[in-house]
Every structure is written in C-alpha cells, then in structure tokens.
Symmetry: C2
Subunit: 467 residues, 2 copies
C-alpha cells in the first residue's frame, strides 16, 4: 500500500529554512524524536520522518506548508499518536509536523457553550480545564487523543450515541491548505447555511486536504445526574434487541455498549469483575433532574426483563456507577494483561443497527470456522463493533487481517461502513472502492484540487493504483 509517489528529500538547506520559520528549538532530526513519531498505536509498521517539527502558530504552519509544497516534500500532521489505522505514520518520510506544542485553550466562550482551542490539546486535558465552567467536550475515543487528531479522523467513542462524533461537535476551524493559504471554515453561529460546508470536508480528511490549526468546539453542560445500568442476556440477539428497544424508547442513552460472551468471560477472570460469561449490555443515562433518571431506570428495567435479562444492575450512585463501568472502561488494559506477550489488532466496522445481530452472528461463525481467539466489544447503540484479535506471530496476524477483510465485506453488504471511527489511514484504503464506488473519484478529484503535489499525509485514504 506504499505510494508510488516520490518526494524531494529534506536537505540541510530545508532544515535551515525550517529553523528560520520555527526557531531551532522546534526542529529536530534527533533519532529519539524521529522514532517517537514513527508509529501510532496500531499494528502498522513504523516509518521514520526525516525531520520532526513543532509549529507554534497557524502562520508558522502556513509558512512550512508553502515551503514543503514549493519543494515537493511530504508533510504528515501528528497529534499524539493514538491513531489505530496508521493515520499519522509518516509513510513517505519528509516532515513530521507535531502539534504537541500548540496545546492551549485560545478562548472559552462559556455563554455560547463553545471553546476555541489549538489542535494539540488532549481532550481529557481540555475537559479538566473546562470543569469549572460546568461544560465539557463530549466525544471520547478512550485515549487522551488531541482535539486536532480527533477532528482529522472524526473520532467518536462511547458517548457518541447521545452527543455525536467529533464532526457533530465542531463549529469552526482555521485550516492551512497545502499551498500555505490560511482559511477559516464554518462559523461560531450554531446555525449556518451560507455556502458550501467546507468545515465537514476537512473534518475526517485525515490531514490529506489541509492541516487544522485551530478549532471552535461545541460544549455541553455537565449532566447533573447520571445513572448506570448493566444487564446480561443469554443470546447476543436478545442483547441487541434490548439495545434497539432502549433507543426506540426515547430515553436518549449517553452510552449503549455491548460485550460478547467471550469478552465478558475474559473480563470476569479478573478480580472484582463479575460479568459472567454471557453478552452484557452497558448503559449510561444523563439527566438534568434526578426524577428523570429514576423514571428512566424503571422503563429500562422493564425492557430488559421483557428481553429475558439473566440479571440486571442499576445505580444512580456515582461510586457504584464507576464500579459497574470499570470493566468496560478498562477492558483494553484487562485484555492486554490477560494476554502477555501478544499484540492486538482492533477491527472497526459499523452497520445500520437492524443489521447488527447478523454482523455479530457472522463474526461468531467465522471465528469458530477459523479457530481464532477474538473478542467483540461494541458501541452497539451506533451499530459499531470492534473485534479485537490478539496475535503473537505473523501467521496469527495474517489470520486476523483475513478475518478483518471478511468482516468489512460483510459490513458493506449490510449497508455499513469499513470504518465507524478509526478512519481509513493505511489499513482501510483498499476497501474504499467497494464502499464508495464512483464517489471515490470525486474524493480523488478534490484531493487533486486542494493538494496538487500530493504532499499532505501521502499514502493515506486512497488505495494506490494497481491495488
């Protein structure tokens, strides 16, 4: 999947120009810095950049891009490297543009429920600073991803079922184009119908159309009251029917998660986790009033009992809620602990929720046919599933990749997508023709229009010709 494109090398003269733009302290060719920015959290191979730089402003970013574009040097933007599809690996070397030092809040617009930030701020760090305003930025992909990375990849996570993905929580951005033009897209007005929606063209474009250097985000009030519900079912089908019924109830869950029986069993092998060995649905509800939660829990319990729940636990107590959700929030660490000496490949597909049982059934079927160990954990309320494959050698890795291909094909045949929230990066590029058909040509044309020299994050999103 390596691009056939060639780029100019980063010469000493270019390094000098970079130091002139950024200051010597924000330019490094040290091996330690290059290695630290060569790989994300995926299983994709590391690739070193030729130089790592840390812009301190939109204008510096613009100046660097103009230089790189004039000289045909590859540029890969970097948040904090928590991507899961190699989205920020500098496949073609060149300049690794890290936003780790542009990590400030620019302005809190508390009355507007908005905040303007630099792209390198971690969303958890942001939310800590916003706590005193009683507001938070809702998308939560788990890791402390940067806001810039979340927007570039349209990250989502557990709370998306209520609050939407990253794309639903951004209003305005400053973006630098490949040729160094610095533009603003979107508006701080929550309503806007003034021309083409360039904002959402750049969101999710994984740094291949432009580089995000500032963003104004939508915030939501921190909920006054929260409840948690866990329920277990003897079949995945009844668990998913419960998910559909809860969504249809109008109760507006803030999280609606599913783990399969294998995952429950694996999690339950850890002290203090008591999930049993059957599928478990995790739910969370947010409300401005305590009465809402109480009434909601009654309805949820009725639904779960109708669907034949094996057991049902609920709470409005904060400590107990955190205890109930602990296994879900720490499932990845628990899995890693239970599989010493293994790496993990994490699949990511999403389908319309009515197709969720069929997708899950298919994964169970091919898992048994191929005799592999894997675990299912999903944002069920969104029809999104991750199948997690531990592997210890290349043969097991290849088997996981083969199953990933089958699961993607199945998801597409069910009207779904090859990636619900991890983005395309390196790993999903080959599936885009099947998902988008001729629309992929339009995406390519737009890439060619906005980045004619192909310098921005090359090797991502588009399958190379011949593949």
């Amino acid at each position: 999947m390596i691009s056939t494109q060639t780029f100019a090398p980063v010469t000493p003269a270019i390094i000098d120009q970079l130091k002139h733009i950024l200051g010597a302290e924000n330019v490094s060719t040290a091996k330690a810095d290059v290695d630290l920015h060569a790989k994300d959290q995926s299983q994709h191979e590391a690739h070193p950049a030729e130089v790592v730089i840390w812009p301190m402003s939109g204008q510096q970013t613009a100046d660097v891009l103009k230089l790189a574009n004039d000289h045909h040097i590859a540029v890969t933007p970097w948040g904090v490297g928590t991507g899961l599809e190699g989205n920020s690996i500098p496949l073609h070397g060149g300049i690794l543009m890290s936003f780790e030092r542009m990590n400030q809040i620019v302005e809190v617009h508390a009355d507007d429920f908005q905040v303007t930030v630099q792209p390198g701020i971690g969303h958890k760090d942001l939310n800590e600073k916003l706590a005193r305003y009683g507001l938070f930025f809702a998308p939560d992909p788990g890791a402390n991803a940067t806001v810039g990375g979340m927007l570039a990849n349209n990250a989502a996570g557990i709370r998306t079922v209520k609050y939407g993905a990253s794309k639903d929580n951004v209003l305005k951005m400053q973006v630098v184009l490949a040729d160094g033009r610095l533009i603003h897209v979107g508006s701080r007005s929550v309503k806007q119908s003034a021309g083409y929606d360039l904002l959402h063209l750049f969101v999710g474009s994984e740094g291949t159309l432009g580089v995000i250097t500032e963003a104004t985000l939508k915030l939501v009030p921190v909920p006054q009251f929260m409840s948690a519900v866990l329920a277990s079912f003897s079949t995945i089908a009844s668990a998913v029917e419960t998910v559909v019924a809860v969504r249809g109830s109008g109760l507006d869950p803030a999280a609606l998660e599913l783990v399969d029986g294998a995952h429950s069993k694996m999690l339950s092998s850890v002290d203090g986790v008591e999930l049993g060995d059957q599928p478990v649905v995790f739910m969370e509800f947010h409300a401005a009033q305590e009465a809402t939660l109480a009434a909601g829990l009654e309805i949820v319990q009725e639904i779960c009992e109708e669907m034949g729940a094996l057991w049902f636990k609920s709470t409005t107590d904060t400590a107990e809620r955190k205890r109930l959700w602990h296994a879900r929030h720490h499932s990845y660490e628990i899995m890693v602990r239970m599989h010493p000496d293994k790496q993990f490949f994490i699949n990511d597909v999403a389908v319309p929720i009515s197709a969720y049982p069929e997708l899950i059934g298919y994964v169970e079927q091919i898992r048994d046919e191929h005799g592999v160990t894997c675990y299912m954990i999903g944002h069920a309320g969104d029809g999104n599933i991750h199948v997690e494959f531990p592997f210890a050698n290349e043969a097991q890795h290849q088997k996981a990749m083969e199953m990933n291909g089958l699961i993607v094909q199945k998801a597409l045949s069910l009207g779904g997508t090859c990636t619900g929230e991890h983005g395309v990066g390196i790993g999903k590029a080959k599936y885009l023709p099947a998902e988008h058909g001729e629309a992929l040509d339009v995406m390519r044309d737009i890439k060619q229009l906005l980045d004619p020299n192909g310098i921005l994050n090359p090797g991502k999103i588009f399958p190379e010709s011949g593949h």
Copy 2:
C-alpha cells in the same frame, strides 16, 4: 446580480430529446407550468424557465443532466417553491427540473429509525406517513417544503435547538453530478469515518454542485410527553438571558423561541391571543416520561422567576399546549392578515447566543433611526433571528433591504452568519466574501471542479464578478 454567463437555448430538438428521456407527459412548455415555477415565496423577481420537466427517477435525472451539460443549458432544481432567498428561481431560463412527481417513500427502515425517500416528498406528508411507526423527521421549516429542497438549502426551523438542522438528519444520498454521473454519498451506518464527507458538501449546496435524487433520513421517536411554556419579560435582555439559562440547565428544550414586544403586540391584536406587548419566550420540551416533564417545568419556572418574568404559563396538556403555541405557529399568517396590501421581506441571520442581545438591541436601534415597522421573531435557542419587514412600495422595499444589509454586517461583526437557515440563493450572495474570505475561493474551485460548465442553478451562491 444576474450572471454574465450565457447558456444555450432550449431548442425544439432538445425538447424532443427531453421527451424521449422523460416521456412527453413529463415535459411542458405551457405558460401555466412555466409561470408556476418562476418564483418562490421570496420577494425576488420571477424568471421564467424555457421548459419545465418532471423526472421520475435518478437515472432520468442523470440522462437530462448529461444532455444539458453537453449542450451548455442551465438547469435549476425545484422542490415545491417555498424558498425565501430565490434559491430555486430559474434566473437563466433553461430547464426547470421539478421533483414534484418523485415524491414517494422508497423504504422505511423502522428498526434503524431511518427512511429512504425521493426528494419531492413534503416533510409534513412524510411525517403523516411515518406516524404509524412512532417516528418522525424532526427538521420543520414551517412550510411543507420538500425533503430535497430542505437538504439542498439545509433548512432548519423551530425544533433545531434539540434535533439539529437538515444537515444533521441525513445519512446518505443519491446525487447526480452535472456530467450525469450518479453517485452515492454517506452511509446508512450512523457512524462513518471512511474518507471525505461528500454528503455534507452536497447538503446546503443549493443544487449548484449536484442534484439530490434520493435521501436516507434519520428519524427520531415521537416523544411520549410534551410540555409548553410561555413567559414574558420587560426587556429583551432578560428574555435572552432566560434563553441562555434554559440551555445551560441541561433541560434540552425542543423549541426555544423569542418574539419581540412589537411582535407580541401585533399578535395580541388578534382575538384569542393574549401575549401582551412585551417580549415573549416560547418553549417546548419533549420527554419519554411524564415525571421528566414535571420536574423540568419546576426548573424552568424557577429560571423564569429569577429572570423577572412578568408572567409564566406552562402545561403538559396537549390541547392547552397547542393553544399556547398557536400564535407562534401562525405568526406569519397573522402578520399577513394584519397588513393587508403589503408584501413581506424576511431577514435571516444568526450569531453565537452570547451576542444575541447586542444583535437584537442593534435591530431596535436602526428600526427607530429609520422609522420603519418591523417585527422580530427568532429561533433564540440557536441565536437565529428573522426580522420581518412589511412593504407596500419600492421605497419601503429598498429601506428593508438597506436595513437587511446593516443587520447582516452586524451579525458578521459578532461572529455570526449572513444566513442561519434560508440559504444564500440570490439575496445573500453579495455577503459571502465578507463572511468567508479566502475560503470562498475554495468554494468556487469546488464549483468549477464539479460543474465546469456552470449549468447547475446558475446565478446562486456566488456573487458575480464586478459585484
């Protein structure tokens, strides 16, 4: 604002080819048909097309566009003509492409809370048909606009504060490009991060980038319980502070509307409407449980009393709720009835909500300075205001347009937009350079990329050179 572009005429040979593609019954040059599709509900002048056609499928639409593109004939898509900025007026003649006969539900995906429709279905007609599923399509611009027109213009309306605008309620579309390519954009999966967001590039592009021939919409469960609140305040500032406080409470209102004192007084001159002559805030809340509504109303009442409400009315009774909201829902008709022999220009701007009091104060100030009659009615929860200007002659119309320009400039200076929900059409094109700066060049480049002959809805969105 007429484009300097020239297009080829619709010759008898072209008419024959259109009849061959569409059938003679779906092609008309009759004056009655042409006149019926020459003007929307705005104050913009009528322009006749040369021929009106009614495609019956996406493929017919594609065949017509290929023909028109090959011959450089202008094509203007048409829903039902409820636009308020001349968005669907065939400024350059050519082909008026009406979707009135593609008005069917293609498929209800009840378990997915989705419906796939043809573009010509009215949203009210759609919701009548969806009622038996307990689901509805939330955006409601007032008039029975078609879904295709709503998506093309990113229409919004009263319920946007809770459910979002049209762009937030669509998942997938079939779109025909200017050259006749028929593509699919988006996915029925509610989560998707697979490449560029072409869906939102076409939504709100007012038929200038492509023509929507099918759409899959997000639906929401019909709320089990609804409440209404009306409260009046002695100043617009305290009314707006109430709006901000209600949004900040986490109560998630389904409507949060404001009318100014002049509007309240005008509405109250009608029998049965008792709003007084001070600003009034209208609210609606939706919930799955009765207890939620009751608890919410207590909080709302506390907020309104703290803000010094002159009076406060609330109800959870359906008939009483409709009675309380009657004046708001019928405000346009009441205004028309109170101003016989007048036409109306309806302004539309939106700002971050913290700037709403300043915007409203500015409108009051220039209203008094210019000595004109106008009424303010706004989707306050979204920071969106409409200033309604009755006019009886060209001098009054010009005065309204002058004030519109001042209000737009003020909105932009406050970080807002020249159009919150009516779109650009003809009337707002001249404000886009001020709103978007260099980003407008990118929009132009994308227009040129996707419609190199400029046949799609010419004369809209972009200010003509020299203006």
